[in-house]
């Protein structure tokens, strides 16, 4: 029987000698502290990547080279992409998962607490190695976050910066695989009795599918980096056709990782939205099971579409990848439909978390629909490598990820700290972010359709200027919104309203324990007989709302 590891209460005195302060964090094996470390590290990376984005926007605000030369520009946007995609986006959700998954399934910790600590430290060291490339001769990598060979081979790009980039990301890749083994095992093996797979909160489902994707996709990344590193440093010739190599090889393997990476980033965010919307609509989630299968549909399809990034190479079979890419719209559409179905006739509270979730649906829809256009080869040929693509994936990545992440922060901050984030500042945060974000990226669709290429430091066509100015203004407004959030955090963690254990009347088990939870997570666990255990527990004894019990004689220990 897979699921009866009881999470209670586990050598309580294991914690009696815990040192305080920084040593506490250096030696911790508590999934909550590790989750916090993940979140803080990822957020620091996000701020650094954001500053680089502002530098890019500063340069592009008007024609001509103002702030930097072309090579520096290449380095700036390369590191922007690297920090954001590899070192922030996939990691901040891992941090949230680390904190919340054991709480949501009623476990005392993850399956391998020490290995969990190790995956965080590997991640941190990987970040440090990548960032250290700023300080070596020649500076950091300048070949875009995709690092296509042969552009990234030693023949075309010298310098230790590129090698540090590869090694740092390889270390982060190892961290990711280790973390994935840990979280998948936790979800498969550590659920409390009664918490069957189909009673798990959808955030946990999102993390499960996300970690499975990491498990299957990161090895491809590790492989491709190993090939590139061997080629750069040990004379191997994987990508050079004159020696029988293939220049397309890199792109194939990279995108076999690269497209699932999009869903590695976005699936836990779907999970967050799935948690927030029912709570603030005062209704159960519409179509729980359909949501779970949409997760799997998206995840599986994401492995079959890698070459839609390679349409323009002329070396891939277009119909297959086009059809597979278009199919992803179906499970994604189911999700959006179900979110709307959940809100339908609910009594909606427009808290900041809910506002962020609504913002998420809007921008994600725009990002998704423009993506459907890109899945069609004739359109892709026309707009490939233009700002249309940049706008599309920023609507998915920035839009999707950040709105969902902030929704999660506002939603779970009271659980992490025992205090509420200020709703007034939250509204300001949301308003500036929503306006700033759309201002930044919407006009990029238009200049993209007009033919403005991506990854350029300069442009000479005057009519592109106004859109670029708006973009830059929007980017700085987005920066202001992040500052408002940081201010909100700073104020609320000291003087925020006391939250109590369950400020939102949540559905999942983390709301049953104290805020913040004790080191072993629960003093008491309610019986689980639906996918809303905390709701059932709040309404125990209420004949109208109490859950219908199924026959306990029937196969009591199946999980």
């Amino acid at each position: 029987m897979a699921t009866t590891e009881l999470p209670l209460p586990a050598l309580p005195e294991a914690h009696h000698e815990e040192p305080g302060g920084i040593v506490d964090y250096l030696t911790t094996v508590d999934h909550k502290k590790i989750g916090i470390l993940y979140i803080f590290t990822a957020f620091a990376v996000f701020l650094a990547g954001g500053v680089l984005a502002l530098v890019v926007r500063w340069e592009l605000a008007s024609p001509g080279l103002q702030a930097m030369g072309e090579n520096t520009y290449n380095q700036v946007f390369t590191m922007h992409g690297t920090l954001m995609i590899f070192l922030f986006a996939a990691q901040v959700t891992t941090g949230l998962g680390n904190y919340l998954v054991p709480l949501q399934i009623g476990a005392a910790d993850v399956a391998f607490p020490r290995a969990n600590a190790m995956s965080y430290w590997l991640y941190l060291f990987g970040v440090l190695i990548v960032v250290s490339s700023f300080f070596v001769a020649g500076g950091p990598a300048a070949v875009a976050w995709t690092a296509y060979a042969p552009l990234s081979t030693r023949e075309y790009f010298q310098g230790t910066g590129m090698d540090l980039w590869i090694i740092g990301l390889a270390v982060v890749g190892v961290a990711g695989i280790l973390g994935a083994v840990n979280l998948v095992t936790t979800i498969f093996r550590m659920r409390m009795p009664g918490m069957t797979m189909f009673r798990m909160p959808l955030f946990t489902w999102g993390v499960l599918v996300n970690q499975l994707l990491i498990l299957f996709a990161f090895p491809a990344l590790t492989v491709v980096f190993a090939l590139l590193f061997l080629e750069r440093n040990f004379g191997a010739q994987f990508f050079d056709p004159t020696y029988g190599g293939s220049p397309i090889l890199f792109q194939h393997i990279f995108w076999f990782f690269g497209h699932p990476e999009v869903y590695i980033i976005i699936l836990p965010i779907f999970g967050i939205i799935n948690e927030v919307i029912p709570v603030f609509s005062r209704k159960p989630l519409f179509g729980y099971r359909a949501m779970v299968f949409a997760f799997f549909g998206i995840a599986a399809l994401s492995f079959g579409v890698w070459a839609h990034h390679m349409f323009a190479t002329g070396l891939v079979y277009l119909p297959y990848f086009s059809i597979m890419s278009l199919l992803i719209a179906v499970p994604t559409g189911i999700k959006v439909f179900n979110w709307i179905g959940t809100m339908w006739r609910g009594s909606i509270t427009l808290s900041t978390a809910m506002l962020m979730s609504l913002g998420f649906i809007v921008v994600f829809l725009i990002g998704g629909i423009t993506g459907i256009f890109l899945a069609s080869p004739p359109i892709d040929f026309a707009v490939n490598d233009t700002y249309y693509v940049v706008a599309h994936f920023h609507y998915i990545m920035v839009g999707g990820l950040l709105y969902g992440m902030f929704a999660g922060f506002y939603f779970w901050f009271p659980k992490f700290t025992g205090r509420l984030l200020s709703e007034r500042l939250g509204r300001w945060h949301f308003a500036t972010f929503f306006i700033g974000f759309n201002l930044t990226f919407f006009f990029q669709f238009l200049v993209g359709l007009d033919g403005m290429p991506r990854r350029i430091a300069d442009y000479e066509i005057e009519r592109w200027t106004s859109a670029n100015v708006l973009s830059t203004v929007g980017a700085f407004l987005t920066g202001v919104s992040v500052l408002i959030f940081i201010w909100n955090f700073w104020v609320s963690i000291r003087r925020g309203k006391r939250a109590g254990d369950d400020p939102w009347e949540g559905n999942s088990l983390e709301w049953v324990t104290s805020s913040p939870p004790p080191s072993h997570n629960f003093h008491h666990l309610p019986e689980v007989h639906s996918e809303r255990p905390a709701f059932d527990y709040r309404h125990r004894g209420d004949p109208e709302l109490a859950p219908v019990k199924t026959d306990p004689e029937r196969d009591p220990d199946r999980g």
Binding site: P7, I129, R199
Partner: protein, 177 residues
């Protein structure tokens, strides 16, 4: 068939089907086909292991038809969990330890050594071996002394190990509304 195995087998099924179709429609492009088939075999292997393990523990007592239904994603209603939980189910939290940090540092130094030279590789390897040794020793120590203490008596899940001089706080009613 458990839901866990079902999850993995569904991924596996997709990988195999997509791989075979891709192999033919792409005019026998090997790299993508192999990648997709690996996606089929890896999770499939893990899923079969899970089923095997389930059999060893006596199986799910589920009819074949029920198992197929579960695979298709329409399992029968799951029962609520048992109320009383056995002592051997106690999870044991490990003590705080520096070794994961040290081992990670070893890995990082070792990898960086691939750029800067053999001496760093050796240094990193040394650190990694030392940290692994310390790690295993810590695990060993805790297994020997930690778990024994927790297992000597069967504590009720809500009171904690009764042998402990400072007993666990009583499970008051959870606060909140």
């Amino acid at each position: 068939m458990t839901d866990e195995a079902g999850v993995l087998l569904r991924v596996s099924g997709f990988g195999i089907v997509a791989g075979v179709i891709y192999w033919f429609v792409s005019d026998f492009e090997a790299l993508g086909a192999i990648s997709l088939l690996l996606l089929g075999f890896g999770p499939g292997f893990a899923g079969l292991i899970l089923i095997q393990e389930q059999r060893h523990r006596g199986g799910t007592r589920e009819s074949r038809a029920d198992a197929m239904r579960r695979f298709a994603g329409i399992p029968p209603q799951d029962p609520p969990g048992p109320k009383d939980l056995a002592a051997e189910d106690l999870g044991v939290l490990p003590l705080p330890t520096i070794w994961p940090l040290a081992a990670s540092m070893g890995v990082a130094v070792l990898f960086t050594g691939l750029i800067y030279g053999l001496w760093l590789v050796i240094l990193g390897l040394g650190l990694l071996v030392y940290a692994t040794w310390g790690w295993l020793a810590a695990v060993n120590r805790e297994n020997r002394y930690g778990r024994l203490q927790a297992d000597t008596e069967a504590p009720s899940p809500q009171s904690g190990p009764t042998s402990d001089p400072r007993p666990y706080p009583d499970p008051g009613p959870p606060s909140g509304p």
